[in-house]
Amino acid sequence: MTAIPARSWRQLRLAPPLLPLLPALVWLPVLLMLPAVFHGGGWDLIGQFARAAFSPSLDPQVLGSALSGLGVTVGIALLGWALSLALGLLGGVLSSRTVWRTATGSALPAAWMRRLLAVPRAVHELLWGLLLLQLLGLQPVVAVLAITIPYAALVARVVSDLLDALPTKGLEALRLAGAPAGPALLTALGPALQPGVLSYGGYRLECSLRSATLLGVFGLGGLGTDLRLTLQSLQFHELWSGLWLLLLVMLALEALLRGLRRRWAMPARFGLTHRSVGRGGREVALGLLLLLPVLVVVAMALGVNPLQLGQLQPLPPWSADWPAVAALPWPSLIGSTLGLTLLAAALAVGSAPLLLLMMAPWPWGRVLMQAIWALGRLWPPPLTALLLLFVLQPGVLTAALALAFHNLGILGRLLLEAEESASVLAEEALGAAGTGPRLALLYGRFSVLARSYLAYGAYRADVILRETVVVGLVGAAGLGSLLLEALSSFAIDQLIALVAVYVVLTLVGEDLSDRLRRRLLAA
């Protein structure tokens, strides 16, 4: 008989299934803190808001206005997305090490391009929108550009990462056979790049719709503006008319993209770890060709005129007071922004698997949970923050809850997609041996999902840091609220300093989350 290893506390180690649930522990302090944040009133308003969901206004005027607002939002989303995809592809090729090495023998220009593109990426689309609004005045092109600029930089980064991760043996063989750099790159890497780019491009369209709604909330046109106005004037029935329409469009878009992803055998987004070959090249090309006239019609209908870009608004006079800027309470501003990010990220990342686990035995509970997640995805965080202000005091916790709800919707859907594609065999075996559905899910499937889910969660934390600016309006939420103040009072010196700090924070956060993601996926 072999000696039995003795148990020691040094053997204490968290197994993979527990890892996705770990961030949910943050609920303990949050629940302890919550009673102190309630201001005592507003529950009747929340009740009215919830009840109104079942009786949205069907007044033709309200529906007409919501539909036209929705048309503007979808149009802005579509144009911003298409432009960002085209520019992002170009940027991605220009910041790819493989491309530069093949064309010039040195990868150095790629590194410079990446650094250059990091700045537009680090600034949230809302900030771009508000900055461009000051420069160009209120016109649809502002919202389109606000989406295009950061999204193009994001797409460029993903495209260059995908390009640089592709095997280069085929490319080297073509070059050795005397093929010029351009055709060799296109032949060797183009087809392999297509499924990844298409899958990511589809995902960006969903994001673009969310961003266009958010920009509307801040007055840049479309349904978002209606949603905010109806919420602030407590017209909940009218608010829900717009919300249900938006939900319909979003779910239809998600279903369409899911169908295309399956039809064209594109990789799942989760962790971007599984890449398939992709198919349907002719259909894809035809789809893109058909998209062009649609985009022209949308641009004309929205009144987007590129010539207006040259007509800058006169800026109000300003003077820089750098000592006053330096005297701002930077440590506390940065601290509360980071605190907000971590709190919101932990709440969102931890709650999705926790809820999935809790609902495992009840199919109807799962449906309800999915419906709430869908609402979370489409409902812009500043509006959640406004809604929470009915019952909670402004502050970091309120802002974190608003951000967490939105990101829970996004993470929850990804977790469900991954859960459905993960093997069910181990879970089934546990069930056949009498294990309850929750424990069978925890042991059988969370084991497989844990690392890639957390890797995606790390990426999401990085997105949340960028998003902290959008909940600035609930006050006391770090750099975001000061930034919005600086924008509205046109304090350019503060604005420059705050944007610079945001950029640095975002880039550091991006680097940290990248490292964490790589470690999780490599384990």
């Binding site: 008989m1 056949a432 041996a433 309850g436 042991y443 084991s447």
Partner: protein, 251 residues
């Protein structure tokens, strides 16, 4: 759940499972007595896996009755789970949880009997080391493997671990779906020996297999063809021509 000594651990009465083209099981009746070792044979597509899935509750028959330890599957989920805790299945693909350690995999067999605190603790600390070491020893594996990840085991060790997990579950009925497929002859004989050894006392064994040369240790052989029981005899009564006829249509 109490178990009476004379109740059959498994009884199937006129089970029917429909299929797309033809029924997967038609009027299948089968009873396993306590301690009995039954081999289930038949060509591919005869319905062996379907029968085992009905036996462990993964599949509900359209008609007929399943009795576990003399009792029909309970309607209450909780009571049904308690019934299923007494049925252990050795899967062809083993279904080990690759991301967990050997010890955690062994303890996963106890989840039906454990509450949440213990189930969570198992994912943090090594639990029940002595009991796990004992089942590993019964399948000739070293207790030193307990802390190892499953991915570190060889093919043969994984087979044995799957069997040890079954023993850790301590079921009244052992089901095994083609456990010897894809194994080399020596390993197949070893594993079968271990399996037959475990069916003792009240514990019965129902094992599906493709190899007529390994039927010796069984008490009974039940043959399925096209979803029906075509033969039920002791291995000594079984003739070569009967077996040849059973597999002829497959060829």
């Amino acid at each position: 759940m109490t178990s009476s000594p004379d109740r059959p651990p498994l009884e199937l009465r006129a089970i029917q499972v429909p299929g797309r083209m033809a029924p997967r099981l038609m009027e299948v009746s089968l009873q396993l007595r306590p301690g009995e070792r039954v081999a289930l044979v038949g060509p591919s597509g005869a319905g062996k896996s379907t029968l085992l899935a009905v036996a462990n509750g993964l599949l509900s028959p359209e008609a007929g009755e399943v009795l576990w330890n003399g009792v029909a599957p309970a309607r209450s989920r909780r009571r049904r789970r308690r019934q299923q805790a007494l049925i252990g299945t050795l899967w062809q693909d083993l279904r080990l949880i690759e991301e967990l350690t050997v010890q955690q995999n062994l303890n996963a067999a106890r989840l039906a009997r454990w509450g949440w605190p213990r189930a969570l603790l198992n994912l943090v600390l090594p639990l029940d080391t002595a009991a796990n070491a004992a089942v590993l020893e019964r399948v000739d594996l070293s207790a030193l493997l307990l802390g190892q990840p499953v991915t570190a085991l060889s093919g043969g060790q994984r087979q044995r671990l799957a069997l040890a997990r079954l023993l850790r579950q301590d079921p009244l009925l052992l089901l095994a779906d083609e456990p010897l497929a894809h194994l080399d002859p020596r390993l197949a004989r070893e594993l079968l020996g271990l399996l037959l050894e475990q069916a003792r006392g009240r514990r019965a064994l129902l094992l599906s297999l493709h190899r007529p040369d390994l039927l010796d240790g069984f008490d009974r052989v039940v043959a399925l063809r096209q979803g029906r029981v075509v033969l039920d005899a002791s291995p000594s009564e079984l003739t070569g021509s009967q077996l040849a006829a059973l597999y002829r249509s497959e060829a």
